[in-house]
């Protein structure tokens, strides 16, 4: 019973990880329709940023969060500016393009940092955990949950409350018309990519607390990240949040009752089954016009 109850915070913390890795995709994939397979490598860039910064000051881990945002964000911006912008309207091509990019980035990481994993030492205040009502809460997990919540709120405010977010959605929905409305579409695209990639960087820093830091880092998370967005509904923040939470709990209990492999397969099956009911994810905004 204690173990079963313990799965509750575990589900939540899995959800938080899923959310963090998927959040950036709500911009690049959800808003811009770019299936960015290099998203995982931006996560990796964030993790390596934390690695490089560690030891500089006593709070280098916290400092790594904004720095990683900028590092990964700028990488994303460069990717948009150099390649992606030629691909708008061809979402499926972006998948292949960015996959090529991700191969190159992985090799680059291997050449710069070496093939073996590197270690980011967690700050002292994130080591250990606390027992609450018999449930064990590791500090690093709690930190990730808090970070995920902060990021979600920020993204939500940005998308719904800020002119820049509105502008971004306008550009994505109709590039030509956005131009006719006086919006500098190119700049908006680059900024959107910067945000989405930057969030991946932040996720990367957080993931150093619980996972490996190496050139293959991105490949571990990329599929799950896309599944969250797909299950949630493209471009729907609340969908992504709900999907992450649902998948988190599903995963935690399925794995508890079966095993990790089977749980993963069952989660895929659950998603396919779910899409039978809601083919466009949890929340959809459908237009009336065809196509």
């Amino acid at each position: 019973m204690g173990a079963l109850a313990n799965q509750l915070p575990i589900g939540l913390s899995i959800a938080a990880v899923l959310l963090l890795i998927a959040l950036g995709l709500t911009f690049t994939f959800g808003q811009m329709g770019v299936i960015n397979m290099a998203h995982g490598e931006f996560i990796m860039a964030g993790a390596y940023t934390a690695y490089l910064l560690q030891g500089l000051t006593s709070q280098s881990f916290l400092i790594a969060l904004p720095v990683a945002f900028v590092v990964a964000g700028v990488m994303g911006l460069l990717l948009e500016w150099s390649l992606i912008r030629r691909f708008y309207g061809r979402p499926l091509d972006t998948l292949l393009l960015t996959w090529g990019v991700s191969l190159v980035l992985q090799q680059l990481a291997r050449d710069i940092f070496g093939a073996p994993n590197v270690q980011v030492t967690a700050p002292g205040w994130l080591v250990g955990g606390v027992d609450l009502l018999g449930i064990r809460l590791p500090y690093n997990r709690m930190f990730i949950v808090v970070l995920a919540v902060v990021c979600v709120v920020g993204v939500w405010l940005y998308l719904t409350r800020m002119p820049a977010g509105r502008r971004m959605r306008a550009v994505v929905q109709n590039r030509e018309l956005a131009g006719y409305s006086g919006i500098a579409t190119g700049r908006v695209d680059r900024f959107t990519f910067l945000l989405g990639s930057g969030l991946a960087g932040v996720a990367g820093v957080a993931l150093t607390l619980v996972g490996p830091v190496g050139p293959s880092l991105g490949t571990f998370y990329i599929v799950d990240a896309f599944l969250v967005v797909v299950a949630g509904g493209l471009g729907q923040l609340r969908g992504a949040v709900l999907a992450a939470v649902a998948l988190g709990f599903l995963n935690s209990y399925l794995e508890f009752w079966t095993d990790a492999s089977l749980a993963k397969v069952l989660v895929f099956v659950a998603i396919i089954a779910f899409l039978q009911v809601r083919p466009q994810g949890m929340f959809v905004l459908k237009g009336r016009s065809l196509v």
């Binding site: 899995i14 093939a115 073996p116 270690q119 619980v210």
Partner: protein, 382 residues
């Protein structure tokens, strides 16, 4: 024109040897270091005048963490480059993929990693440990420590599954209770549920056959859960110095590992090996068991060639039996029968500085027994 050409590798003043490891993909993390050690051995041998008066020329191929690619590149090294022998592989899957290629071409492979046993190909030399040189001693050690309740954690592939079968047979015979047996896919990074299961089962020890990156996630998440080495030590058989670095020593310190060699192993040969390795690749580099086994493989082959007086495969095979070198891990001898190597088993304790301190070792090299024929409790296994 394509003579199945192993042994033809000697031409003019050079002898070509193949090196076949994953330089890309998930396995690169581990295999690159083995390649480095093998290249070091080749360099050293060349510096001492080579073999049979000829220089060794390595031909490197990338197995790309992809088993069919290993088979393809092995074929290429044999029939295109006509190398005298190949050093390569890490995962059992890559070895199984290459095995028919070497057997068909009657060419030689030197495989440098501990593995699950139950194999003895006439065209493969196994310089890493088989199960009776690593897993069985580790179990003996745990039993001696009074650990009666064990939890098994492994990556989902052949080595962990076979290892755990052996462990369960051992446990059944020795009155040890196996509380759980869990597998996760390779590259899995989410261990909170598994850790919770362990916390719930309260074992005396965890036997860990996870491979590669998963170890990092496992140990980091284990540490957050309040499970400590004092209450529940984890014994790992695929975590060496290189992996400890990636996991972060603070996350594994106090846990146990089982190997045949550590960087701290005190032999004259090891002092030289570590020094040479650091000189070539950087002072921050560490050495590890598979690296050492790869390094040994090159020397063992070179000795066999010297003894045979030729690089021709059948002659080398015949000459190999009984060859002994003073390896960094101590004396190692090729078993002519099953082409494995006699090795000393060592249990180590991970230190806070990332090094591993030996806490127990077998009295001497253990004769390889890949089919565990000499163990009663293992009767039903093969």
């Amino acid at each position: 024109v394509d003579e199945p050409g192993a042994g033809a590798g000697a031409s003019g003043d050079d002898i070509k040897v193949g090196i076949l490891h994953s330089l890309s993909g998930t396995m690169a993390i581990s295999e690159v270091t083995v390649r480095d050690a093998e290249l070091l051995a080749i360099e050293e041998i060349n510096a001492k005048g080579g073999v049979l008066g000829k220089k060794l020329v390595p031909v490197t191929e990338d197995g790309a963490s992809d088993w069919p690619t290993f088979a393809e590149k092995a074929q290429k090294l044999i029939s295109q480059d006509k190398v005298a022998t190949v050093f390569g592989g890490w995962t059992s899957a890559s070895r199984k993929a290459m095995l028919p290629v070497f057997e068909r071409n009657k060419a030689l492979l030197w495989y440098p990693v501990q593995y699950e046993g139950l194999e003895s190909s006439p065209y493969i030399f196994y310089t890493g440990a088989t199960t009776n040189q690593q897993i069985v001693p580790a179990l003996d050690y745990l039993a001696a420590q009074g650990k009666k309740r064990m939890f098994l954690v492994g990556s989902d592939y052949v080595f962990p599954r076979t290892a755990n079968k052996i462990i369960k047979a051992y446990a059944a015979a020795k009155g040890i209770e196996v509380l759980g047996e869990e597998y996760t896919p390779l590259g899995h990074t989410e261990y909170s549920t598994l850790v919770n299961k362990i916390a719930d089962a309260k074992p005396d020890a965890v036997f860990n056959t996870l491979n590669g990156d998963s170890n990092v996630a496992f140990f980091k998440q284990l540490r957050g859960s309040g499970i400590t080495p004092q209450t529940t030590p984890v014994v790992s058989v695929s975590v060496a110095e290189e992996e400890v670095k990636g996991i972060g020593p603070e996350n594994v310190a106090g846990h146990l590992v089982a190997w045949n060699y550590y960087q701290t192993t005190t032999t004259p040969a090891n002092d030289a090996f570590v020094k040479a390795f650091k000189a070539k690749y950087g002072a921050d580099k560490v050495t590890s068991d598979p690296m050492e086994a790869g390094y040994n493989a090159v020397y063992l082959w070179a000795e066999a060639v010297k003894k045979a007086g030729t690089v021709e495969v059948e002659a080398v095979k015949k000459a190999a039996g009984g060859i002994t070198i003073d390896a960094p891990e101590g004396k190692t001898t090729i078993d002519g029968e099953n082409q494995h190597v006699a090795k000393t088993a060592r249990i180590g304790l991970v230190q806070a500085d990332g090094q591993i301190k030996e806490v127990w070792s077998s009295p001497g090299p253990i004769k390889p027994d890949p089919y565990l024929k000499s163990y009663d409790w293992a009767d039903g296994l093969s």
